[in-house]
C-alpha cells in the first residue's frame, strides 16, 4: 500500500486549527486533523442545564477529584473534559495554573467569548513607547479578516469609536442590566469608559445557529451552539465536504522532516493503543495552543534542526506573555439591598466592560506602558458566596443572605505582561509524560509594569465604586499565572528570520511548508482576549497557504 500523503496536517482543532480546517476543506484540500483527545457529546458532556441539585455533589465536586482540580472551570460540571494525564512542569519559583482542553474543539467549547479586535495602537506599541518590537502587520491589513470572522461567528456589540478598540460588524448588543446602568452612571462621573463588550454570543439567530437562550452556564459548554465553537460552527461542514479526516486521541509528538529539513509529516501517539503513528502531508499547520505548539517544535529535533524544527532563531518557546487576571476590588450596592432578584448573570458573560482607557493619546501618561481592560461581574449569581461576610445565624442571617443577593459587585482585570528574557517555555530535561514525550517546562513571573497596572486598576475601580454609590468591601488577589489561558509569544511573527520564528503570515522562516496558527505567533498579548484574533490571523494564514500551494 502506498503511503497516503495529505495536502495538510493540522495539529489541533481549537480556534486556530478549526479555522484552518474550515478554510482549507472549503478550498478542496485534503486535510488530516490530529486531536489529542476525544470528541465531546453535547448531550452527555455539556451539563450546562443541570441545577446544582441535579449534580451528585451539588456542583462542589467529588472531594477526591476536587484535590486534582486545575481551577474554577475544572469542576463537577466539566468532569472528564480537561486534560489531566499530560504533565507539564514549572521551574523553581514559577507557579502556573493551566487548564487544557484536548477534546475536539479545544477551549472554544468553553471560552469566555469576549471578542475585541486588536488595534493599530497594539500593533505599533513599540513605536509609540519604545519598548520591544512592533507587530509586522498593520491594522488595515488584518481588518478585513476580522470582519469576515465576525460574520462567521457572530459578535454582539455597538459602534464605540475608541482609539484602541476598532469597531466591527456587530449583532445587536446584550442589554444592560441594573448593575450596568449604575456603573455606567458612575463611570461617566469619573471619566472612564463603561461600554457593551464585544461578545461572541448570538443575540439573534445567525449563520444557521440559534440565538442564545441566556441560561447562564456557557462556561460548561453550550448544547444549542449559540456561541462560537469549532465543533458547532466549523467542523461539521468540513467533515461533510469529504475533505477532512479527524484522528482523535492522536497526541502530536514531533514534526517529521525530510532530508532537506522540510516538514514531511507528524509523528503522534495513539492514546488508545499507545503506539506511535506517522502521518504525512505536503504542509503541516501547528495549532496546538501557544505552549503546546512550542513544545511540539522543541521536541522535533533532527540532524537538520538540532534545537527543534524552525528554531534557527532560538526563539521558539521564548517571549511568553500572559494576562494577569484577578478581582481587583469587591463591593456591594446598598441601593439594591432587599430588591427582587434580577437575572443579572443570565449570560455568564461579559455583558459590559471597561475597555483600555490608559495611555491612549499619550503613550507615556501613566507610570506604566500600554494598558489594561476591566470586566465587571456582579448581581444575582447562583450560590451566595458572600455569606461569610455576614456574622451569626438564624432568621437574621437567612434574611441578610436574601437581602444582599442582588448587591455584590466585583471588577476583574485583564492586564498584559510584556516580553522578558525570563518568561519562556522549554523542555524539561528529565520529566516525560506517560507516553514518553518530554514535558513542557514553564518559567514565568509577573513583571513590574503589569503589577503597576494592577495597582492602578485597584484605585480606578475603588473610585468607580464610590462614584456609583457602592460600598467598598476589599481588594482581591492576583490569580496564579496561566489562569487567563491567553498565553502568547512562543513563536513570534516578525520580518527578521534571525529574531522571529514565523513571517508575517504565520509561515515559519526556516521551513516553508510549516505554519503556525495560534496565539504563539502574537508578539505580545495586548489588553484584549485572544480568540477572535487567533481566528482572524489563522484565516489569513490559511489563504496564504492556499496561495503558496497553487500550481
Amino acid at each position: 500500500m502506498s503511503k497516503q500523503i495529505y495536502d495538510v496536517i493540522v495539529i489541533g482543532t481549537g480556534a486556530g486549527g478549526g479555522m484552518v480546517i474550515h478554510r482549507l476543506c472549503q478550498a478542496g484540500a485534503k486535510v488530516c486533523a490530529l486531536n489529542g483527545s476525544r470528541r465531546l457529546d453535547p448531550r452527555k458532556d455539556f451539563r450546562n442545564h443541570k441545577q446544582p441539585y441535579d449534580m451528585k455533589f451539588r456542583g462542589f465536586n467529588d472531594p477526591k477529584k476536587r484535590k486534582q482540580s486545575i481551577g474554577y472551570m475544572d469542576n463537577e460540571y466539566t468532569d472528564g473534559i480537561w486534560e489531566h494525564e499530560i504533565v507539564f512542569t514549572t521551574a523553581p519559583g514559577t507557579e502556573w495554573t493551566w487548564r487544557r482542553c484536548f477534546a475536539v474543539g479545544g477551549k472554544t467549547n468553553f471560552w469566555g467569548r469576549s471578542s475585541a479586535r486588536f488595534s493599530e495602537i497594539d500593533f505599533k506599541a513599540a513605536t509609540r513607547d519604545g519598548y520591544d518590537v512592533d507587530w509586522p502587520i498593520t491594522y488595515d491589513e488584518i481588518a478585513p479578516y476580522y470582519t469576515r470572522v465576525e460574520r462567521m461567528i457572530g459578535v454582539a456589540s455597538t459602534v464605540q469609536n475608541r482609539a484602541s478598540n476598532p469597531d466591527g460588524e456587530y449583532l445587536p448588543p446584550m442589554n444592560f442590566r441594573c448593575i450596568d446602568r449604575i456603573l455606567e452612571s458612575g463611570a461617566k462621573k469619573i471619566g472612564i469608559p463603561y461600554l457593551p463588550d464585544r461578545i461572541a454570543q448570538l443575540t439573534r439567530n445567525h449563520a444557521g445557529h440559534p440565538a442564545c437562550h441566556y441560561c447562564a452556564n456557557c462556561s460548561e459548554g453550550c448544547d444549542t451552539g449559540s456561541f462560537f465553537s469549532t465543533p458547532w460552527f466549523f467542523l461539521p461542514e468540513a467533515e461533510k465536504s469529504g475533505n477532512l479526516e479527524i484522528r482523535t486521541n492522536a497526541l502530536a509528538k514531533n514534526i517529521v522532516v525530510d532530508e532537506n529539513g522540510r516538514a514531511a509529516g507528524v509523528a503522534y501517539i495513539d492514546r488508545t493503543t499507545r503506539q506511535e503513528v506517522e502521518v504525512f502531508a505536503k504542509n503541516v499547520v501547528v495549532a496546538a495552543s501557544c505552549v503546546e505548539s512550542a513544545r511540539i517544535l522543541l521536541n522535533s529535533k533532527s540532524r537538520q534542526w538540532p534545537t527543534g524544527v524552525a528554531n534557527s532563531s532560538g526563539q521558539v518557546g521564548r517571549n511568553l506573555c500572559d494576562h494577569l487576571y484577578g478581582t481587583i476590588v469587591r463591593g456591594y450596592f446598598p441601593q439594591l439591598l432587599g430588591q427582587p432578584s434580577f437575572p443579572d448573570n443570565v449570560s455568564a458573560s461579559t455583558v459590559a466592560w471597561l475597555p483600555r482607557w490608559q495611555n491612549l493619546e499619550n503613550p507615556r501618561s501613566e507610570k506604566f506602558i500600554r494598558g489594561y481592560s476591566v470586566y465587571p461581574d456582579g448581581g444575582c449569581g447562583g450560590f451566595p458566596s458572600y455569606f461569610d461576610q455576614i456574622e451569626g445565624f438564624g432568621s437574621e442571617f437567612k434574611r441578610e443572605i436574601k437581602r444582599r443577593y442582588p448587591t455584590p459587585i466585583g471588577f476583574y482585570i485583564q492586564a498584559p505582561t510584556q516580553r522578558s528574557d525570563s518568561n519562556y517555555v522549554d523542555i524539561d530535561p528529565t520529566v516525560k509524560d506517560v507516553y514518553g514525550i518530554p514535558a513542557a517546562r514553564l518559567h514565568f513571573q509577573w513583571d513590574k509594569n503589569t503589577l503597576l497596572m494592577w495597582e492602578h486598576g485597584k484605585q480606578a475601580c475603588e473610585q468607580l465604586l464610590h462614584a456609583s454609590g457602592a460600598e467598598y468591601l476589599g481588594a482581591g488577589e492576583i490569580d496564579t499565572p496561566g489562569t487567563s489561558l491567553h498565553e502568547t509569544g512562543t513563536c513570534r511573527m516578525g520580518n527578521d528570520p534571525k529574531k522571529f520564528v514565523t513571517n508575517r503570515f504565520g509561515q515559519t522562516h526556516d521551513v516553508p511548508n510549516l505554519y503556525i496558527c495560534d496565539a504563539s505567533v502574537f508578539p505580545n498579548c495586548t489588553d484584549k482576549t485572544t480568540t477572535i484574533s487567533i481566528l482572524a490571523f489563522s484565516l489569513r494564514t490559511s489563504e496564504y497557504l492556499i496561495e503558496n500551494n497553487k500550481t
Binding site: 442545564h49 443541570k50 441545577q51 446544582p52 441539585y53 441535579d54 449534580m55 451528585k56 451539588r58 462542589f60 467529588d62 472531594p63 477526591k64 446584550m174 442589554n175 444592560f176 442590566r177 441594573c178 450596568d180 446602568r181 449604575i182 452612571s185 443575540t203 437562550h213 441566556y214 441560561c215 447562564a216 452556564n217 450596592f333 441601593q335 439594591l336 439591598l337 432587599g338 430588591q339 427582587p340 432578584s341 434580577f342 437575572p343 443579572d344 448573570n345 443570565v346 444575582c380 449569581g381 447562583g382 450560590f383 451566595p384 455569606f387 456574622e391 445565624f393 438564624g394 432568621s395 442571617f397 437567612k398 434574611r399 443572605i401 436574601k402 437581602r403 443577593y405 456609583s468 454609590g469
Partner: protein, 191 residues
C-alpha cells in the same frame, strides 16, 4: 433526566428536591423519602446534633429551613465522601455535645432550643466569643459553611433566593428602571 435518576440511585436522600423538579415524570417518581434517614457517616446521636444545629442556623421561620431542604442529609453525604473533613466534623460534634453538658448538664440534643441558641451565639458572634472556645468557634464556622452550601444548592434554597439562572429567556434581560440609572429611587426593599 437519566442523570437525575442516577444521582438518586446513588443517594436516596436527594429524592426530595430532585423529584419535585420533575412534574412531567411523576409516574416514574420514586417513593417518598423514608421517614428516618440512615446516615452514612454520622452515628444516629451525632446526626441528631447536626440536624438540630443546622435548623438553628437556617430555621424554618415561615419560609423553609435547613431541615426542609435536607441539609443534614447533604452534610452527611459530603462528609462521608471527604476523608479530609471527617475528623473535624466528628471532633466538632463531640465538642459541641460536651459544651452543652458542661453548661446545662445534658447533651446538645437534650437541652432546650433556647439553650442551644445561647450556646451557638457564644460561638457565632465575635463580641460573645471566648478565647478558650476556639475549637468550638471553628467547628461552628465549618458547620455554618456546610449548612449554607447544602441549603442554597437545594431546589428549596434556590427558590428562596429566586435564583434567576438556568431559565430560558428570549432576549437578554434588561434593567427595568430606565428613568433611574443610579437606582437611588427604587421601590422600598421587598426583603
Amino acid at each position: 433526566m437519566l442523570a437525575k435518576v442516577a444521582a438518586m440511585s446513588q443517594f436516596g436522600g436527594f429524592s426530595r428536591w430532585i423529584c419535585a423538579a420533575e412534574h412531567a415524570h411523576t409516574e416514574n417518581a420514586p417513593k417518598p423519602r423514608p421517614a428516618t434517614y440512615t446516615p452514612q457517616f454520622f452515628t444516629p446521636a451525632e446526626y441528631k446534633i447536626i440536624d438540630q444545629s443546622t435548623e438553628l442556623i437556617i430555621p424554618n421561620d415561615g419560609t423553609p429551613g435547613a431541615r426542609d431542604a435536607g441539609v443534614s442529609e447533604f452534610i452527611d453525604f459530603m462528609v462521608a465522601h471527604d476523608d479530609d473533613i471527617q475528623y473535624r466534623f466528628r471532633t466538632g460534634v463531640a465538642w459541641l455535645d460536651a459544651f452543652a453538658t458542661e453548661n446545662y448538664g445534658s447533651g446538645f440534643s437534650d437541652i432546650s432550643t433556647a439553650q442551644q441558641q445561647a450556646l451557638l451565639r457564644r460561638l457565632a458572634y465575635r463580641d460573645q466569643q471566648f478565647p478558650t472556645e476556639i475549637q468550638g468557634q471553628e467547628f461552628f464556622k465549618l458547620l455554618r459553611e456546610y449548612t449554607v452550601m447544602g441549603y442554597y444548592t437545594s431546589r428549596i434554597g434556590l427558590e428562596q433566593l429566586d435564583y434567576p439562572g438556568l431559565k430560558l429567556y428570549s432576549a437578554s434581560p434588561e434593567c427595568p428602571h430606565k428613568d433611574d440609572p443610579e437606582h437611588r429611587h427604587l421601590a422600598p426593599p421587598r426583603f
